[in-house]
């Protein structure tokens, strides 16, 4: 452990803003890259199923 207590951990020796901002941006970018394709897949499957049903009903 490099820190004695939790407030030291948050402060990061005065560099807290920089460190937490970096890790925060990383979390957002990683999350976007996983959630976006999953949502796109859901949307795509809905669209393709609808198209398939329309074609087979004609």
């Amino acid at each position: 452990m490099s820190f004695d207590n939790f407030s030291d951990f948050l402060a990061m020796g005065g560099h807290g803003l920089y460190v937490w901002l970096s890790y925060g941006i990383a979390l957002v970018i990683v999350a976007i890259n996983l959630v976006e394709p999953l949502m796109a897949r859901k949307q795509l499957i809905t669209d393709l199923v609808r198209r398939l049903r329309r074609e087979s009903s004609n």
């Binding site: 452990m1 490099s2 820190f3 951990f9 990061m12 020796g13 005065g14 560099h15 807290g16 920089y18 460190v19 901002l21 970096s22 890790y23 941006i25 990383a26 970018i29 990683v30 976007i32 890259n33 996983l34 394709p37 999953l38 796109a40 897949r41 795509l44 499957i45 393709l48 199923v49 198209r51 398939l52």
Partner: protein, 252 residues
């Protein structure tokens, strides 16, 4: 008639089959998903809590655990995009085109991450968010190349022509990769030289570079997950008229 001898291994032809790729990636995804989760959570805890602070930079040094993996990944992703594009151009392999297309948005966001964390790290270390340094500028060019590929692809009506055009752009832009790598040697820069090299032991102590290695591998696993999710979507979209996709959709 004698059977034509092939000089390419069997897996190369299997890779050409969208259906085989779709199913194979579906089987790989859970493993890479678990790996990503484990490595990134462990790596983050390790780098934030257990790694020692740098004797000069203090705790701002911990940004390295995001910055270096992101920068490495942004460049590897570009190389994969260019190589997949070339394979698509030469062998007309549809899956390779889909891989190349799917690399672009991941690479662009990861390049943004590398640049943003670099700027955030630069402020307490160099006293400036941005300097027109060779390493920083060539990384910015990398981001613009990704954005160019995305824009060019979306400007084209047909998937085939779009893939051909973006592959050529990606291949031309490949010249930027050695420039990024050697920028710290060729020019006098503020940026420090490479942390990891394949041939030498890192200059950092073990308790500093080991978490970095975990983060780099974790970022690669994350990349694999995101890429496979995107490529599978592309396969479904482009192969929607194929009977196996119809059969798959009937089950939904």
């Amino acid at each position: 008639m004698a059977e034509k001898k092939s000089w390419l291994p069997r897996w190369f032809y299997q890779l050409a089959s969208p259906r085989w790729c779709y199913e194979f990636m579906g089987r790989l995804l859970p493993w890479f998903g678990v790996g990503t989760l484990f490595l990134l959570v462990a790596g983050t805890l390790w780098s934030l809590v257990y790694a020692p602070a740098d004797y000069q930079q203090g705790n701002s040094f911990r940004i390295i655990y995001i910055h270096v993996p992101a920068a490495i990944l942004a460049q590897s992703c570009y190389m994969l995009m260019a190589i997949a594009g070339a394979i698509g151009l030469i062998w007309k392999m549809k899956v390779a085109d889909m891989v190349a297309k799917s690399c672009a948005p991941i690479g662009a966001t990861i390049a943004i991450l590398a640049l943003a964390t670099g700027a955030i790290w630069g402020k307490p270390t160099w006293g400036a968010w941005w300097v027109w340094d060779a390493r920083l500028t060539s990384m910015l060019v990398l981001l613009f190349l990704y954005l160019g590929v995305i824009a060019l692809h979306s400007a084209m009506e047909s998937d085939t022509t779009a893939s051909q055009a973006t592959s050529v752009l990606a291949l031309v832009g490949l010249v930027n990769i050695p420039i990024i790598k050697y920028s710290v040697d060729w020019w006098n820069t503020l940026h420090q030289p490479a942390t990891f090299t394949l041939t030498e032991k890192p200059a950092m102590p073990t308790e500093m570079w080991l978490p970095l290695l975990v983060m780099v591998i974790g970022f690669y696993c994350f990349f694999a997950v995101s890429l496979m999710l995107r490529v599978r979507n592309e396969i479904l979209r482009r192969e929607r008229r194929a009977s196996w996709v119809r059969a798959l959709l009937d089950k939904v």
